[in-house]
């Protein structure tokens, strides 16, 4: 049991820099497209690591499967919403930031 809790804690701790990177990108990136990029990739990976850590600690395989389903659903929703926001931003005339 000790090794399981240690592994779970380690996985969840490694998720923290990903969330920090995602939030930092949201605050500091110059463009809506770059911000979407930071949010979807970094935050989904961070969520995946947290879900993995919780799965290691889960009581039964059904609970672990439900946690995995949560991550897959967030992945699906996040990707679709990022696509929709980027599509709308392009339509309303926002051009991607260029190093000028």
């Amino acid at each position: 049991m000790e090794i399981r809790e240690l592994l779970a804690a380690l996985l969840m701790l490694t998720a923290m820099p990903f969330f920090l990177a995602g939030t930092l990108g949201l605050l500091r990136f110059p463009d809506v497209f770059c911000r979407l990029h930071a949010l979807t990739k970094a935050d989904n990976l961070g969520l995946g690591l947290i879900v993995l850590g919780l799965m290691v600690q889960a009581d039964s395989w059904q609970a672990a499967a439900r946690l995995l389903l949560i991550w897959l659903l967030v992945l699906l929703a996040g990707a679709t919403v990022a696509h929709l926001i980027a599509r709308q931003a392009l339509r309303t005339g926002q051009n991607p930031w260029r190093l000028s």
């Binding site: 659903l73 699906l76 990707a79 679709t80 696509h83 929709l84």
Partner: protein
């Protein structure tokens, strides 16, 4: 451990209050709506911290999801806000009364309430022992479901009546406007909807079944199904008039009607209102919950659409008779 959890609770509470202040004081309406959705999600976390998982499920689904969709749809239909609405020639009384009242009355009320809160005992069992001792009588294993649909079923009946009244009011106010034109929908959204709809229906049914013995129930399941319906509408699909005429109206009312019937039948037999016959309580609760979930889904989806179906008669009396009366 308790120090860390106390710190987490303090941080969560501070974030909630700060979010509420920022969203009420924000200059941009869109920012206010987005902050409100974030506030609702954090509020769901606060319910989990306070040991209320059913309420957390309902808050996340209804408070954050459905209310967020409602606000976004309304925001799209309103024109941009004017910058600073000037009051024409305000009198001194008008200029002083509101700020004075607010800066004196509100802090006084807050002080009185907070001081009376401090006198409350730190632990109070409340009605929990009473509910637990009668739980077997209600034939449902989960105390919140037992209270909702058995002990305080009257409140739930009136709540469903409020839902039906809200849809009636919304339908009186105007016709439904199209949410998305079918040609302008992204194929990514269509694909995600095709994947998500079966998952949502399955999860809704699972939550409905779970309500008998664990956190869950009709309202959470109904909210999930409503989310599926709203997603389907945003993906450009529209309900044909064959379905939006009688079947939609039946679905909207069915939950309330069946609940009212199960409440009224014992009265006709000489019993009290909502007195389930012993041994039948679990069956009746399951029937009422299933139909309620369908009705709640229809009501919330109709609320997001925001108007009556186009095939409904527009006036009463119907337009032909009104013209005849005008001619006379």
């Amino acid at each position: 451990m308790t120090l860390l959890s106390a710190l987490f609770d303090l941080l969560l509470l501070a974030t909630l209050l700060w979010l509420a202040w920022r969203l009420l004081a924000s200059a941009d309406l869109f920012k206010a709506v987005v902050l409100f959705i974030a506030f609702s999600l954090l509020l769901a976390l606060a319910w989990v911290r306070l040991n209320a998982p059913d309420v957390a499920l309902a808050e996340a689904a209804i408070g954050a999801g459905i209310t967020g969709a409602l606000l976004m749809v309304a925001l799209g239909r309103l024109s941009p806000e004017d910058a600073c609405p000037h009051r024409l020639h305000p009198t001194l009384g008008q200029r002083l009364s509101a700020p004075l009242l607010i800066s004196l009355a509100v802090p006084a009320a807050v002080a009185i309430l907070l001081s009376s809160l401090l006198t409350l005992p730190e632990t109070a069992a409340g009605l929990a022992p009473l509910v637990t001792s009668h739980l077997a009588q209600s034939e449902v294993a989960h105390p919140v479901t037992a209270v909702l649909l058995n002990f305080r079923g009257y409140d739930t009946l009136l709540e469903v009546a409020v839902l039906v009244l809200a849809v009636l009011g919304i339908w009186c106010l105007g016709e439904a406007q199209v949410l998305t034109l079918p040609g302008s929908v992204s194929p990514v959204l269509l694909g995600m909807t095709r994947v998500l709809l079966p998952v949502l229906v399955l999860t809704g049914g699972y939550l409905l079944w779970l309500g008998g013995h664990a956190p869950g129930g009709a309202f959470q399941a109904g909210a999930l199904l409503a989310a599926g319906a709203v997603l389907w509408l945003f993906a450009g699909q529209m309900l044909s008039s064959r379905w939006s005429d009688l079947p939609l109206r039946l679905l909207l009312l069915l939950g309330f009607q069946v609940f009212l019937a199960t409440a009224a039948v014992p009265v006709l037999q000489g019993n009290l209102l909502l007195a389930y016959p012993p041994g039948w309580a679990k069956t009746m609760i399951l029937l009422v919950e299933t139909l309620l979930a369908g009705s709640i889904a229809a009501v919330l989806a109709a609320a997001v659409i925001g108007g009556r179906p186009a095939c409904a008669p527009q006036s009463f009396p119907p337009a032909g008779q009104a013209d005849e009366e005008k001619q006379q």
